[in-house]
């Protein structure tokens, strides 16, 4: 378009041309054909772990890895090492043994008796009577007076042997031996029942009862057998002195369902033995430890119908074969009631001593210790009521569970731990975009003790190639504690671990790592006893700063 004006058309024309030209020149300014962007190095901060271990988690880890005595939560949240053991106790057939009953008697003709027989008319019956008395001496328990034995099994045999030339008949009765219907045992024999001069009868005593007599303090547990012998004069035979008639009854292989009586005041053993008590394993070195509390409990179960009493426990601590401590207690005796009616209703009572009434705290140590224990109860501390005699059933028992609790109220001057772990850090090459990284570990220690840790990485030749840090790290910073030994607030530990590929290359050669840890309870130097409770915990946070490098 050409625009002209009377005065300035020419200049306007050139102005338009110049404007268009400028615009064209401007359009020639173009962006670069290729762009170069420097390496892209963003820093990404990301949380990795945020977790909280309560003491149960920590102890589970400890139990799995350092083989400690199990730790449990007590009432009120107090935590304690807990050691328990079920005692073997005493079984009924071990404590009370029914002796065999064996009694024998012999009738021998003397001259007078022989003549007396001979002068009687033939067929005359001469009656002779005798009583056999057997005393069932009970050695276990000694001095036991038995009023009734309900037999689960047993055998009775009665034997008569005769060398008399005259006919002999007879009968025997044992009034202390009752069959299941309540009738006393008896038997009768005639002369023609002898075989080769001997007559014998046996009886299975299962379900029978023996009711011994205890007429006085000298004659106890008596079983009587009354027998009568009838000698019938044989005219064809002349009795001569020396002929005899022998009788014997035996009750043996006796096992009871139940025994009643007065069993005396013998001991019933709960346990006799030794055990090694080791709170922590040999990888720990501990010194300056004071235990603030400890307790020992015997939970006694009495399935005997016998009252008993626990008045002492023999407990000795032995180190290196030398008795270093013996238990002394001012605790009163414990009366153990009898089972009620049968062994199916045992009585249960507990006996506890602690640091207030004994020297129990000195019995335990963080060092391995052998503990020797002897515990028993004594039967019938009180006179037995005849209307309520002692009884022992065949399945009866007396036993106890031993438990020792050592609350984690302690002072630890120094606890060292050292272990060597097999380790392989085969880091992958894949993360090429990761230039380096900084791993941040944050620990919130709610326990009343501190732990310093040092980790040294070794190669296969044992040479140290790297370490977690130049100096031991107080990973569990020791918190301040109040007058009760509880942490005032959680102590904080923050540490950054830096990794780059040079370090990763070094760590590839790691073959094992030496872990060393040092611990002490808060204010241990001041003698402070700290308490570890279930509500204490360890918070752990792990974050990473990833220094990425995106090469263009």
């Amino acid at each position: 378009m050409q625009l002209r004006s009377e005065y300035g058309g020419f200049r306007v024309h050139h102005g338009v041309v110049m404007l268009v030209l400028c615009m064209c020149l401007g359009a020639c300014q173009k962006p670069a054909e290729e762009f170069e962007v420097p390496d892209w190095t963003p820093v990404v901060a990301v949380p990795l772990v945020d977790t909280r271990f309560d003491l149960a988690d920590v102890l589970e880890l400890l139990s799995d890895n350092v083989d400690t005595v199990p730790i449990a939560e007590l009432e009120g949240g107090q935590l304690a090492f807990v050691y328990s053991e079920q005692f073997s106790g005493t079984l009924a057939d071990e404590w009370l043994v029914i002796p065999d009953v064996v009694e024998a008697a012999e009738l021998a003709l003397d001259t007078a008796l022989a003549e007396a027989i001979n002068i009687t008319p033939a067929g005359t019956v001469l009656p002779l009577s005798d009583t056999l008395i057997s005393e069932m001496i009970v050695d276990n328990p000694p001095g036991a007076l038995i009023s009734a034995v309900y037999l689960a099994q047993g055998n009775l045999s009665f034997t008569v042997g005769s060398t008399l030339g005259d006919e002999v008949e007879g009968q025997i009765t044992i009034p202390n031996l009752l069959d299941p219907t309540g009738l006393p045992w008896s038997t009768v024999w005639t002369d023609d029942m002898f075989v080769d001069g001997t007559f014998q009868v046996t009886e299975d005593l299962s379900g029978w009862r023996i009711l011994p007599e205890n007429p006085n303090v000298q004659d106890t547990n008596l079983v009587r057998a009354y027998f009568d012998v009838f000698v019938i004069n044989d005219a064809a035979h002349t009795a001569v002195p020396g002929e005899s008639l022998a009788a014997e009854f035996v009750m043996d292989d006796l096992l009871f369902d139940r025994v009643e009586g007065d069993f005396g005041s013998s001991n019933i053993t709960l346990e006799e033995g030794a055990t090694t008590f080791e709170l922590v394993d040999e990888r720990f070195t501990i010194s300056g430890v004071d235990l603030g509390q400890a307790s020992l409990t015997l939970d006694i179960t009495n399935a005997f119908g016998v009252e008993a009493i626990l008045d002492s426990v023999d407990l000795r601590a032995i180190e290196g074969g030398v008795v270093v401590e013996e238990l002394n207690s001012t605790a009163g005796p414990l009366l153990v009631p009898p089972a009620s009616g049968s062994q199916q209703s045992p009585s249960q009572v507990s006996w506890t001593i602690d640091e207030t009434n004994s020297n129990i705290t000195s019995m335990f140590s963080v060092e391995p210790r052998e503990l020797e224990l002897a515990a028993w109860v004594r039967a019938n501390p009180n006179e037995v009521d005849p209307a309520a005699p002692n009884f022992v059933d065949a399945d009866g028992y007396v036993t106890a569970e031993f438990s020792a609790e050592i609350p984690l109220a302690l002072r630890v001057g120094q606890l060292d731990f050292r272990d060597t772990l097999a380790l392989s850090l085969d880091l992958e090459d894949g993360a090429q975009e990761l230039d380096s990284a900084s791993l941040r570990l944050i620990l919130h220690n709610g326990f009343p003790f501190g732990v310093d840790v040092a980790v040294t990485f070794l190669d296969s030749s044992g040479a140290a190639v790297d370490s977690l840090a130049l100096a031991p790290l107080p990973v569990l910073t020791t918190p301040e504690v109040d007058e009760d030994g509880l942490p005032l607030e959680e102590a904080l530990f923050v540490h950054d671990f830096f990794f780059d590929w040079d370090r990763a290359e070094v760590l590839r050669s790691v073959d094992r790592a030496v872990l060393r840890a040092w611990s002490a309870s808060s204010d241990a130097g001041d003698g402070t006893i700290v308490r570890i409770t279930a509500d204490q915990g360890l918070g752990m946070e792990l974050g990473a700063k990833l220094y990425l490098r995106v090469a263009q």
């Binding site: 378009m1 625009l3 004006s5 009377e6 005065y7 300035g8 306007v12 102005g15 338009v16 404007l19 400028c22 615009m23 020149l25 401007g26 359009a27 300014q29 173009k30 962006p31 670069a32 054909e33 290729e34 762009f35 170069e36 962007v37 420097p38 892209w40 963003p42 820093v43 990404v44 901060a45 990301v46 949380p47 990795l48 772990v49 945020d50 977790t51 909280r52 271990f53 988690d57 975009e433 941040r440 944050i442 923050v494 752990m540 946070e541 792990l542 974050g543 990473a544 700063k545 990833l546 990425l548 995106v550 090469a551 263009q552």
Partner: protein
């Protein structure tokens, strides 16, 4: 992966620089009557021709792109070396990209000398504003673990997208109110809404803890639209606009008004002022509203105790599965915390404003052909206010040539604009640029804009000075 990220990064940077076009300021089109649009900016300004007709996009189609961020040369060297840190340093905390396009359908104007002018116009307007935070680039380039970022609430809360399109049917008049002294103008716009999308509220703050590096994410959002199926968009569906037989439906309606005056203090000094586009639209049809209730989410890392409690073993495979489960749980928790919700019942109608401009200025004519102008203005657009000032020098030659140069101070920058209007017979050609350096050296400029158009002008060709003596400024005003 690195290459893809590089391309994305460069693309974003290039977009930032290439879209560094004009800001929504004033130019010759709005200031000088010869361009045929000034009467719509200040209805008291009368067109120099007796009547004028603009038909279709050729007559005045314009697209304005406004990016408030750094220029290309601010962070890219001539040989293409990109300096991301320079980009960050030259960015304000919040930058915006505004796009506004106007497609005139028809515009008519009839003037009775200096007494009265009547105008009619229909146009299609589409405008949008996208706001983003500098932290978005900062976090991408330096990461959340950078010392300058860790522990600092990294906010994306200024992120926003406002967009609307509407038909504007306008009627405008300008008339002499006092004989050769005062001209007043008034206009009304009947607005037919075609579609809108608005992020009414957007809060997103990411804080990385300096101690344990945990992440604290807080956010909420309210979005509503007219004519867009947000459910489909959220599910990755295609953008669908409601149409009826190929013609866009009217989804909203509204009205806006223009007010203006021109006061000739002396034959050589004239004051002017106007309010343009005061009004808005109410969107009533095809509405959607989505909300994310204000919520927070804290990422603190894996709870090892919980994970190990659920582990059958501590073998690597099982731990990997547990870690994947944890990841899934975290993502589910994150989705639950910031779940997109649809308000029950029909979405409520919502209102939007159209761009509104206030201006006040003075024109001084020391010579019949020379005009010196100074204007101050304030613009309201999608809740943001911008202010600026303009100094112009105009030379009119024989009534058919107008040359204009202007210096405009806006948002801390000086823009150097110019324009040329030529009338030959009934044809008027006009061209302008609000910032000429932006055309000459586009990579060094932060603003770029150009305009050209044709119109049919009839009558009132400005005569030579000696011939048109006493032609203007005679007679009574329209309302006297």
């Amino acid at each position: 992966m690195g290459g893809i990220r590089l391309k994305v990064a460069v693309s974003v940077m290039m977009l930032s620089s290439l879209s560094s076009g004009l800001r929504a300021q004033l130019g010759p089109m709005e200031v000088l009557p010869e361009w045929g649009q000034a009467g719509w900016s200040n209805p008291a300004i009368l067109h120099p021709s007796g009547s004028h007709i603009l038909l279709g996009g050729l007559s005045g189609f314009q697209v304005e792109v406004d990016h408030s961020g750094p220029r290309y040369v601010d962070f890219i060297s001539a040989d293409g070396l990109v300096d991301p840190m320079a980009l960050l340093e030259r960015m304000d905390p919040v930058e915006t990209v505004g796009v506004r396009s106007e497609v005139p359908l028809i515009s008519l104007g009839f003037r009775e000398k200096e007494r009265f002018e009547f105008r009619l116009r229909s146009r299609v307007v589409a405008e949008q504003k996208f706001s983003y935070d500098r932290d978005l680039f900062d976090i991408a380039w330096r990461g959340n673990g950078h010392p300058d970022n860790i522990g600092r609430p990294i906010s994306f809360s200024d992120f926003g997208l406002h967009s609307q399109a509407y038909l504007d049917h306008g009627l405008s008049v300008g008339a002499m109110a006092k004989e050769d002294k005062l001209w007043l103008g008034w206009g009304i716009h009947l607005l037919n809404g075609l579609g809108a999308f608005e992020i009414e509220q957007f809060d997103a703050v990411w804080t990385t803890d300096t101690l344990d590096y945990s992440w604290d994410l807080q956010g909420g959002m309210v979005v509503h639209s007219a004519g867009l199926d947000l459910d489909s968009l959220l599910e990755g569906g295609e953008l669908e606009l409601p149409t009826d037989s190929g013609m866009p439906e009217t989804l909203g309606a509204g009205v806006a008004f223009d007010y203006g005056f021109r006061w000739k203090l002396t034959p050589k000094v004239e004051l002017e002022g106007s309010i343009e586009g005061r009004g808005g639209l109410r969107w009533l049809e095809s509405l959607s509203r989505k909300e994310v209730d204000p919520s927070s989410f804290v990422l603190e890392g894996i709870d090892l105790v919980e994970v190990f409690d659920g582990a059958d073993s501590l073998q690597l495979d099982s731990l990997q599965l547990l870690f994947e489960d944890w990841q899934t749980e975290m993502l589910d928790s994150l989705s639950d915390a910031f779940s997109v919700q649809t308000a029950p019942g029909a979405a409520a109608a919502f209102d939007t404003r159209i761009r509104e401009t206030w201006r006040f200025g003075i024109r001084f004519r020391p010579h019949e052909s020379v005009e010196i102008s100074a204007l101050a203005y304030r613009q309201f657009s999608f809740g943001r206010v911008r202010e600026g000032g303009l100094f112009g020098l105009t030379y009119r030659f024989r009534g058919n040539v107008t040359v204009h140069a202007q210096a405009q101070f806006h948002n801390g920058d000086w823009l150097w604009g110019s324009g040329l209007s030529l009338r030959g017979g009934p044809i008027r050609f006009s061209a302008s640029a609000r910032h000429v350096p932006g055309l000459l050296r586009p990579l060094e400029a932060g603003h770029w804009q150009g305009q050209a158009g044709l119109s049919f002008d009839i009558g009132y060709i400005q005569k030579q000075k000696k011939r048109r003596k006493n032609d203007l400024g005679t007679g009574k005003g329209m309302w006297h």
